[in-house]
């Protein structure tokens, strides 16, 4: 079987696995919530993967762009009659536009300085939300249920004898969007754009000497990444039904980055596994209370010590299959 064929099979199996798991857990609200949350975080991390892993653009404000998408969704669904499917896209566009504010400083700085710029932006965003009463201030905003056509997301599912929690709706949509985002990111990687972004990350001087427009490549990657984070944020806001500045702290951004490192930077295949570990593990360890963070931090450190390239290191690109 060709490599492409194997990957298609793996993708199909992953989707079937998540679908099967969700069906098995259909009555368990909390478990379904975690599954949907993992999928949503995977979408956001796929975006960060394009930025960090491909173009080498650091972004420590992942949760901020996630939040921009969430707030956009809240404002639109509360104040307008825009169809909700468009609201998800609008969340992505809003995040991509918010990223434009950062483009100049991001293009002009590198490494630690670029990290600081994005951290500063994350802090500014939170402060802005907290003092802005029309966006709910520190109390945040409530969102109405998600509706796409006749599909009402907050109604429990009842098809004949099949019954399931309303959260299964969100799992289905999140799974669909995650698969779409995954295909997009893999396609970007396996194309001239992927080669171009890698060249920019690895050596800007030689990339420029062969005609690669550095600024445009970085802007493309940054904007695409923020768009994905924004879509994920909009979906998450609808699922939770409530957003507040506290959900979009710098700590949340660090969690997204740690998922990226854990999974294997530059490789989308490691992200679902890493996201599942980072999100589900602390919840499963509730019994040991606050010690769970100690255990979890230890695990992350161990993985990075012994697998510095992540759980699933990035393979060599083989354009045209070989």
């Amino acid at each position: 079987m060709t490599r492409e064929g194997r990957e298609r099979l793996a993708q199909a199996l992953a989707i079937v696995f998540v679908a099967g798991l969700s069906l098995a857990l259909r009555e368990d609200d909390f478990a379904l919530f975690l599954v949907a949350r993992v999928l949503i975080v995977v979408i956001a991390c796929l975006g960060l993967n394009v930025q960090f892993g491909y173009a080498g653009v650091v972004n420590f404000a992942g949760a901020t762009f996630f939040g921009v998408g969430g707030y956009m969704a809240a404002v639109l669904s509360r104040g307008t009659g825009v169809p909700h499917l468009f609201i998800l896209v609008a969340g992505g566009i809003a995040a991509a536009l918010a990223g434009c504010v950062l483009i100049l400083p991001v293009l002009r700085t590198r490494g630690h300085y670029a990290a600081l710029v994005t951290i500063a932006f994350a802090l500014l965003f939170r402060t802005f939300l907290e003092v802005n009463d029309s966006l709910g201030g520190p109390q945040g905003l409530k969102l109405p249920e998600l509706r796409i056509g006749p599909w009402r997301f907050n109604e429990p599912i009842a098809l004949g004898r099949f019954e399931a929690s309303f959260l299964l709706n969100y799992v289905i949509l999140a799974l669909f969007l995650a698969a779409l985002a995954f295909a997009l990111v893999v396609r970007v990687d396996r194309s001239w754009i992927g080669v171009q972004l890698d060249a920019v990350r690895l050596d800007e001087t030689s990339a420029a000497a062969f005609g690669i427009p550095i600024a445009r490549a970085k802007i493309t990657a940054f904007t695409l990444g923020n768009f994905l984070a924004g879509v994920a944020g909009a979906l998450s806001a609808h699922m939770v039904g409530f957003i507040a500045p506290n959900n979009y702290s710098f700590g949340e951004s660090l969690i997204l980055v740690s998922i990226l490192l854990l999974g294997g930077i530059g490789n989308p295949w490691g992200l679902p596994l890493a996201a599942a570990i980072v999100i589900v593990l602390p919840e499963q360890l509730q019994v040991i209370q606050e010690y769970r963070y100690l255990l979890y931090a230890g695990l992350v450190i161990l993985i990075l010590l012994f697998r510095p390239n992540g759980l699933v290191p990035r393979p060599l690109r083989r354009l045209g299959g070989a």
């Binding site: 970007v188 001087t205 420029a208 000497a209 062969f210 354009l319």
Partner: protein, 257 residues
């Protein structure tokens, strides 16, 4: 035959240091010009100014009819000048094929729509790219053509140099700038690399080359003409034998008075 590249009074200062001092230089169509001089004499600075890595402080450069002074590196590449670097600048984690395709940038479609949605057309372009890469490597070093999908980090230095030169050649430039291709290689490896280069050039048509080199045997063997720099100034010009006899050149290299 006219001059392909013509530089007048090209100057580059770094603070108080004049790295390139009013350089007048012509490269004729189809020749191999050797650029020599002691360390720090401004050879690499000349390449960097020419290819837009640093802007010139003053002076001008024309490529054919086109003024290219202070063009961006991207525009210089589009105009038809390709270069290699003194220190190897391949993307080591990428495959040899990916590295070659970086040099093929101007023949590839980089639109988001084309790359993400029109996968069939992309696939055809990838096939064309692979064909071009294989053909060039067949000509340059046939065994490498079978190793397109090995990471650059896993091939020896001489093959990295070959790939770097091929990366510069694959976009079919009119002028090739080679910055010390023998750096970090043995004498024997250098000789083989130069054989490959001359052979490839013979088959590709008379490509114009400017070669920076410290290995005088290489300069003697491959160049038609030499320009000698010292402290950013041209101190001699002519055939290698003639230049090597020049008292100013001997003084610059050996410190003889």
């Amino acid at each position: 035959m006219g001059a392909l590249l013509r530089c007048n009074g090209l100057t580059r200062k770094f603070g108080g240091v004049v790295a390139l001092d009013g350089l007048d230089l012509q490269v004729e169509e189809g020749e191999i010009l050797g650029l020599i001089g002691p360390n720090g004499s401004g050879k690499t600075t000349f390449f960097n100014v020419l290819t837009g890595v640093f802007p010139a402080t003053s002076g001008e450069a024309r490529f054919g009819e086109m003024p290219i002074t202070n063009f961006s590196p991207q525009a210089v590449y589009q105009a038809g000048i390709a270069r290699t670097f003194q220190r190897s600048r391949l993307c080591l984690p990428l495959s040899l094929f990916d590295n070659l395709m970086v040099g093929n940038h101007k023949n590839l479609d980089h639109g988001l729509w084309f790359n993400v949605v029109r996968r069939r057309a992309l696939k055809r372009q990838i096939e064309e790219g692979r064909k071009a890469a294989r053909e060039l490597l067949e000509l340059f070093d046939p065994p490498l053509a079978g190793r397109l999908f090995e990471p650059a980090s896993r091939v020896p230095m001489i093959d990295r140099r070959r790939i770097e030169i091929c990366r510069a050649l694959i976009g079919k430039p009119r002028l090739l700038l080679l910055d010390e291709p023998s750096a970090g290689m043995t004498r024997d490896e250098t000789r083989r690399l130069m054989d490959d280069l001359l052979e490839a050039r013979r088959r590709l048509g008379r490509l114009t080359i400017v070669l920076i080199e410290h290995e005088m045997s290489v300069i003697e063997r491959v160049t038609d003409r030499c320009v000698v720099l010292n402290y950013g100034k041209k101190i001699a010009e002519g055939a290698y034998r003639q230049v090597a006899e020049d008292p100013l050149v001997r003084q610059a290299y050996l410190g003889l008075s």
